[in-house]
Symmetry: C2
Subunit: 406 residues, 2 copies
Amino acid sequence: MRAGFQIVEGGLDGVLGIFAGGIRCGIKNKRRDLAVIYSRVPAWAAGVFTQNQIQAAPVTVTRNNLQKTKKLQLVVVNSGVANACTGKKGLEDAERMAELGAQIFDLPQKELVGVASTGVIGEFLPMDKIEQGLLNLRNGFPEQFFAHDAALAIMTTDTVPKEHACQFSIGGQEVHLAGIAKGSGMIRPNMATMLSFLACDAEIESASLERALKIATQQSFNRITVDGDTSTNDMVLILANGQSGAHPIKESDSEFSTFQKALNWLTGELARDIVRDGEGATKFVKVVVKGGKNEEEARKCAYTIAESPLVKTACFGEDPNWGRIVAAAGRSGAKFDPNALSVIVNGVSFVEKGMGARGCSRQEMKAVMREKEIEVVVNLGVGEQGFEVWTCDLSFDYVKINSHYS
Amino acid sequence: MRAGFQIVEGGLDGVLGIFAGGIRCGIKNKRRDLAVIYSRVPAWAAGVFTQNQIQAAPVTVTRNNLQKTKKLQLVVVNSGVANACTGKKGLEDAERMAELGAQIFDLPQKELVGVASTGVIGEFLPMDKIEQGLLNLRNGFPEQFFAHDAALAIMTTDTVPKEHACQFSIGGQEVHLAGIAKGSGMIRPNMATMLSFLACDAEIESASLERALKIATQQSFNRITVDGDTSTNDMVLILANGQSGAHPIKESDSEFSTFQKALNWLTGELARDIVRDGEGATKFVKVVVKGGKNEEEARKCAYTIAESPLVKTACFGEDPNWGRIVAAAGRSGAKFDPNALSVIVNGVSFVEKGMGARGCSRQEMKAVMREKEIEVVVNLGVGEQGFEVWTCDLSFDYVKINSHYS
């Protein structure tokens, strides 16, 4: 029990009235590539979408559908092909994917379907395979529906599926909140940086859901970075179907703040999973900037450090080369006093007053760099504002994975 | 003969009254690590310096000296230790390095000495080794002075020395302009991104020299990027000692524009050398953005593409994954029409009207990606402004070199 909610095992399967499944429809070789998330009833829904100026067709279609209905009953997701930069035909395909979902799962209208795609940019969706895949999924519904399969089917270069769940109580009634996510490369802040699908069996109206999702995203998916690259396809969707039977909650209710906390936790866990599974990652790196003049400068500084290839390769090499951290801070545009700057790594002082910390042996510094999780705390020493970013190291495998992808 | 100047073999040795040499003083193992560039007479001089908020001690000392005298007669450079983040003692050491240079080379004042350092941040200079090294250099002066040794002595992770030279005529008198540079990692725009030392035997007064150097830097060192990281130590210095005997030139003279063109060429060659020798680089990549609303947006777009780890690993893998180029443009903040965007790589159309170009086979696309020099032309289609950036690919060797440096 933390802050009124309880972490539980499992994933979306525990959310009442939610059924998620995944199969292989043949876009990818020998791997699951098509998932659906179905709600027994139309659910209040909200989404956040990529901020990239180029937005893939499914992003456009899902955003439009959500605007019309404020609800979703089905989400159809494929991996392998992104359906981005595919022009008019791409939009028609994304619309058709929603239509097929509505037909095959007997929904009253196609606008209750969200669609998402992830994979290579510039190729068209194989619509016949997607149609046959949806029919096969429908045939297995609900006996063959396992949310874990959905988590697997949305993966691209991910090495592990990402699922988390929790529960809390509304007026004595137990409610469930869970989600899945994918994302490993092309991870960048300032938007829904990957695919994530969340569901809750409480009843929360769309506008409140959206505000809560934005707050949660801001402190989770929007503060992770693997390589600074932002995808054209990313989205986070949340459904709240009310199937727990608990009374509907509003933002003014005390239960809403429990929901917000649970949602913050859930998105935080999924976001950290993404960074831990960053392409080629061997370490989780948390960059905490403190003492900034304002939050914007602290943010710039944190991202500049977190995205510096030199800092990231030093983490991979377990090399306590703090000069790279200091140099990145220096070029970030954040104001600081070079003679007051401090850097602390996993509790060990590397830099004091802008110089190598005395009383810290190279042995000690090397030892902390060998840990699996590295926390870099940089104090700019000119104010009170801070920002925290999560990233991973840059390894041989990042280059290997990305030099031969398409 | 191009634009009034002539490219010639060799380097600084051809500049009259300039003597450059390099030896091993013992900072590094088995490699040259100390260089001097000496002018027979005090020379008009100018410099551009790192924009990093953290500036190494030698940057401060050299800038101060230049401000006082507008002239330099000696430049002392060491590699292996950067003398950055070294506080008061670091400043004293840099001052002492200038003093030793002036003493040992019999200069009238220590402010005629520029000092520069490159290497690991946070360590102190071994002043005894530098003193002994300077004495040894003085003993070999001028018989053992070879500018090529100076080019070698300023290298860190560079794999090749970088030297270029040209000549042109002032009032019928032949004058010489040449330079050396180093830089391989921590290369980033918007400042003097590495060390470079240029010399000319024409006579050009300091203020004019500085303006010319700024123009040249803007279109050479300021548009290269290897990894987006900016060093604390970078500087470009130019000396003009008048030893050719040609009459002094002013900015209003027609010869000055020849000098400017020659200087642009020289800095451009040195900058391109740095990118070609980028840490782990296997390819030279030129990113040309056209059709931007304004230059600032074109610049942002060009850098975002040039610094995208996904674009750079695709170049390394010779993978025509244009989706990454388009996605980088999309997140760069530059305005464009997603349905008008085009991408042309080495003359082959990859993207037309925001979609994969028809009539271009995957075979053809793969073939151009296999070339050693890759030119990516992105047309944003919303205006007339452009920007060009030079970079390299991101390879296994970049990670190898940088994970075990200090």
